[in-house]
Symmetry: C2
Subunit: 113 residues, 2 copies
């Protein structure tokens, strides 16, 4: 599982942590229902989560298209906008769970957060 | 759901985000099985996640005891220790899902991360 944080928003650490957690729970819950084998493999493998950053929403939309083309599950996190950003702002893109090599083909050039 | 990050470790933002995400997924998965009504209430309420910080492991162990006394579900996150901290280091304590007032009675005095 990879979660990509939208760097241009310059969110605080606490906000980033909560947004990444939203993405991780969404991906876990959706894969448990739609792709139980992938969910099981990820669970047994220690529920690995990699947090990366991408500069802009446009770049993240490109990532999402590339992930979908490879049938990697995705989820967008939109913030409720009560504190740091306007309501509905996309803060994170979650990808997976999927084999590391599959995820790496899409996100391998991004920086660690 | 509240996730308390162990402040004394001075982890990087990316590490904190991944550890908080581990806690959130653990709490969600365990409540889905053991406390489906609490899980449903939390899901329908927007899967709220609050990220707080506590200075030391000792303080967090006190929090865990207080949570257990109130029958709030808890989970510890231990880092695999490949990068920033030794293997098995406790990085986060997750609490919930539970009603806001119940969680607030235990964690209300902690600072936001």
């Amino acid at each position: 599982m990879v979660i990509v944080v939208r760097g241009e928003l310059r969110l605080t650490t606490g906000k980033i942590a909560a947004q990444v957690a939203h993405a991780a729970v969404n991906l876990a819950c959706q894969s448990e229902v739609r792709a139980p084998a992938a969910f099981e493999a990820w669970s047994r493998g220690g529920q690995k989560k990699i947090v990366l950053t991408s500069p802009s929403l446009e770049d993240m939309m490109t990532l999402e298209r590339e992930a979908r083309a490879r049938r990697i599950p995705t989820t967008w996190v939109e913030d409720a906008g009560l504190t740091e950003v306007p309501p509905g702002t996309c803060t994170c893109l979650g990808l997976g769970p999927a084999p590391a090599a599959t995820l790496d083909a899409v996100t391998g050039k991004l920086d660690l957060l």
